[in-house]
Amino acid sequence: MAAAAKAGEATLRHAFGNVLSFFILLLIGVLAFSIRLFSVIKYESVIHEFDPYFNYRVTQFLTKNGIYDFWNWFDDRTWYPLGRVIGGTVYPGLTLTAGTIWWLLNSLNIPLSVETVCVFTAPIFSAFASWATYLLTKEVKGAGAGLTAAALLAMVPSYISRSVAGSYDNEAVAIFALIITFYLYIKTLNTGSLFYATLNAIAYFYMVCSWGGYTFIINLIPMHVLLCIVTGRYSSRLYIAYAPLVVLGTLLAALVPVVGFNAVMTSEHFASFLVFIILHVVALVYYIKGILSPKMFKVAVTLVVSVGLVVCCAVIAILVALVASSPTKGWSGRSLSLLDPTYASKYIPIIASVSEHQPPTWPSYFMDINVLAFLVPAGIIACFLPLSDASSFVVLYIVTSVYFSGVMVRLMLVFAPAACIMSGIALSQAFDVFTRSIKFQLLRILGFSEADAGDGSSANVVPENDAVKVDKSEETIKERPSRKNKKKEKEQMEKAQAEKTSAKSKTEKRLLVLPMELSVIGLLLLVFMGAFYVVHCVWAAAEAYSAPSIVLTSYTHEGLHVFDDFREAYAWLRHNTEVDDKVASWWDYGYQTTAMANRTVIVDNNTWNNTHIATVGTAMSSPEKAAWEIFNSLDVKYVLVVFGGLVGYPSDDINKFLWMVRIGGGVFPHIKEPDYLRDGQYRIDSQATPTMLNCLMYKLSYYRFVETDGKGFDRVRRTEIGKKYFKLTHFEEVFTTHHWMVRIYKLKPSKNRIRGKMKKSKSRTSTPSSKRSGSRKKNPWQ
């Protein structure tokens, strides 16, 4: 009777807890969405940066022309004259997702434009990602930790930086796909159900569609399987979790055109196959061990080892020979630069030049994950008490992601969910102990007589924020699946008993309980820490990560000043040039030019062809005539240059010039970097080398610059320029934006060759231009 009443009460409490969780999750989703809207409020609903413009253009094409044309699209408006096979070289996940959302909304007669859908895709998927984090952490440590982790992920600045409204890039959906793949893997590991294994493979397929970072998953999961095998935690659920994923996953990954046969041929995937084989061997060994007697098993082992070793060596020798025969050992350039951080700077300057690929500085860790940086070690310790398959996976995840985040600042993004999970676990455990202590102490104070459940151990326990207490299994650890009723009853029974006896009969450890004041203070401090985190995240989202990069603002004494030069220049190009005109610029601006100005470009941000980029770089570093020749051979009509000297915009082409020289010099040896350096520095003032003062980039940037203030003071380099008065012979200026940030030049057509004047002097033949006789006249083409 009493038990039934208690059961009813527990059901009610449980139901109430569920409803509360649901509403909290809903609020977390709303939070994740709204914190990313600062850029829309401060600027406008516009697509940011460079890469999102390409994705936006592809999505436009998809919505206009349908999916078959999208798969078969050969883009001739970029990488002129090579073109680019977009269907086969783009990760289609993001564009297909946004296209599907647009199509769905439009078929429901909600007429949102493609741009709106693209801008808001990222915040929506970050809400989904926080829900996925809740699910993942719930599998590892329980619902409380799940909710905390989800709340932390909704706000963590590292993730916000790549998923604000308007940052329409692959990571927006890829992080969601990553977390949900991990969740489904852990769920399969915990339950051993093939249903989740299939879902896992489908989620992995979505991840492969979305981002090149899928290789992280296909290497992390095999590593975890290997770890489980080596630590003796092999079970049949492990087999069910891993083997279908590998086979189905490889099959599905090969379906994506950009991956194709790489799914079985590149070294990034070999780890999964290797572990697949190892897993089968281990499964076989366990099976045979199960059906044989121990003596026979020993015999079997000796036999197999002697024979198998020979076979193994042969196979490994063949494999090593195959892999070693390729110069990069089968790895792609980007993966190699992750494993060996110095690789890119030695061999592939393009990868080294991208600012996102530089290693992060120490302060950026605090900026990006803030308070979580101290909670992560506590979470790691919490995962070891007790260690389950799921918690070992999360530990492995965070260790590997810390390494990769140290190599490349862009990969801080992969580290952020791991940090949130760990911190969620740590915070949840800490809160558990504090509230349990308070509840227990309160009950004791209010007069429960038989209260002696292992308390007063404050001497052993360090009352700091990041101490972790030993937990009873009533805390929602999930090692085995158990139905909710059973768990709830167990919980209830144990609560009742805890007030009477100290130690339980079986394997549970003693409850540690802190004194009341300590718990209250600890709780308050944790809340303050959380408040600090929230304040920092909101500040980071509002001030640091919401800049669209295409519109710049600054605060002068007159108020807000807006620099909209980029769009001004692209609009000018769009309205004042022919549709087929080719525009040359440095590769940073390629995507924006094709998307907004709708003109054919020579190189763009995809950077797949190093030689082509080197050609443009050489042209920018050469004197006018040579540059004209190069551009003319590429059919270029207009050259676009970004110049920040008048307003102090530091990311202009003169500051990027060193990369033009390096990349150009890497392919064309007549460009030698020391020619441009004075004392090891690139200078544009009077101390600059003559090669520098004569190169096209200098001339196009500083043409007529002296007219602005009479002295030609460059606000970025903070000096006066070296050569102030010069004329352009092969180019003419057609447009300069309001703040001189973008300058557009047109190639002058070559002059007609003059035959009449040549006849006066020695006319051997009717060859048009003889240098000797033309020297009297000012021939600009010399």
């Binding site: 078969n72 051993g192 189905l248 046969f261 059906i291 026979m296």
Partner: protein
């Protein structure tokens, strides 16, 4: 020493065979199916070694679908095995059907898709190429 190894091997095979004979018939049927799937995959590998690997995608889809069938059948065997204490017997049949069905349909889809890229090699009657109309 070779003698004793030989005798040991014989004793080993004997005990293996007797232990295996004790498994229930349903599991044996599943094992037979797994063996058949692996055999099919091996045949395809041998064929590729003889004839050459073009078109590679048909080889890939064929081998991977056979291996996938084998793996999923092994998973079925694991879950159906009464000696395995970790699984509840009744609740798993639906996932068992769903899993292999999904995989089979994916594999057929993949082979079709791969085949369609080289329409005249694998499935000449398929004409999915929109440009050819």
């Amino acid at each position: 020493m070779a003698r004793s190894t030989g005798k040991d091997a014989q004793a080993l095979f004997h005990s293996l065979r007797s232990a295996y004979a004790a498994t229930p018939t349903t599991l044996k049927i599943i094992d037979l199916y797994v063996g058949f799937a692996v055999f099919t995959a091996l045949i395809q590998v041998v064929y590729m070694a003889i004839v050459g690997s073009f078109p590679f995608n048909s080889f890939l889809s064929g081998v991977l679908s056979c291996v996938g069938t084998a793996v999923l059948a092994v998973c079925l065997r694991i879950q159906v095995n009464k000696d395995n204490k970790e699984f509840k017997h009744q609740m798993i049949f639906i996932p068992q059907i769903a899993g292999p069905t999904t995989r089979a349909s994916f594999c057929r889809l993949c082979s079709l898709q791969f085949g369609a890229a080289f329409g005249d090699h694998e499935f000449p009657w398929i004409n999915l190429d929109p440009a050819s109309t």
